[in-house]
Symmetry: C2
Subunit: 103 residues, 2 copies
């Protein structure tokens, strides 16, 4: 157990939140998803999902694209390159944490 536990606090708090990690993990795989797909996969409430997406958008991690599919509104979400980078960095950080708490 190296004493540099302090690195724990460097973890990306935006992605450390489980709800947002779910979202980003999904977007990392599917490239593009609509709001309702995320809603179903994550089990979040709509309000909650909406709020998390806004936060991810504010951070530049996801792109929110509103349009219409026929007459019904549809919101398409995708991970930006910045978001993908952040996700990869977070994975690394988390593996570092695991390594330190697992000895």
């Amino acid at each position: 157990m190296s004493s540099d536990l302090r690195s724990f606090t460097e973890v990306d708090r935006l992605l450390h939140e489980p709800a947002r990690l779910m979202i980003v993990t999904l977007l990392a795989v599917v490239a593009e998803a609509d709001f309702l797909f995320l809603l179903n996969q994550t089990g979040l409430t709509k309000g909650n999902l909406s709020a998390h997406l806004s936060k991810l958008e504010a951070a530049g991690y996801v792109e929110i694209n509103k349009s219409y599919r026929g007459k019904i509104p549809i919101t398409l979400l995708s991970l930006t390159p910045t978001g993908m980078d952040a996700f990869n960095t977070y994975r690394k950080q988390l593996r570092g944490i695991i390594a330190r708490i697992s000895d």
Copy 2:
């Protein structure tokens, strides 16, 4: 990537907080530590450390023992069995998350 991302939200929020994870990780190793040791190792501010310890105590994860070393007050912290269990569970959960975001 199994779609059971929802398990992400089951993670123990108390330990998911990096500051508290540092504390518990330390206590898991050293068995007993005083306040100032934790202060140095974690790099937290005193107020912060105090607050996190209170929270961990409220959850039954750590025991707080105040006494005197000579004439100066000393606060000894130790992980309870409950806390150790929670720590082990959290490790498992975190490994599960890692596995799901790493494919």
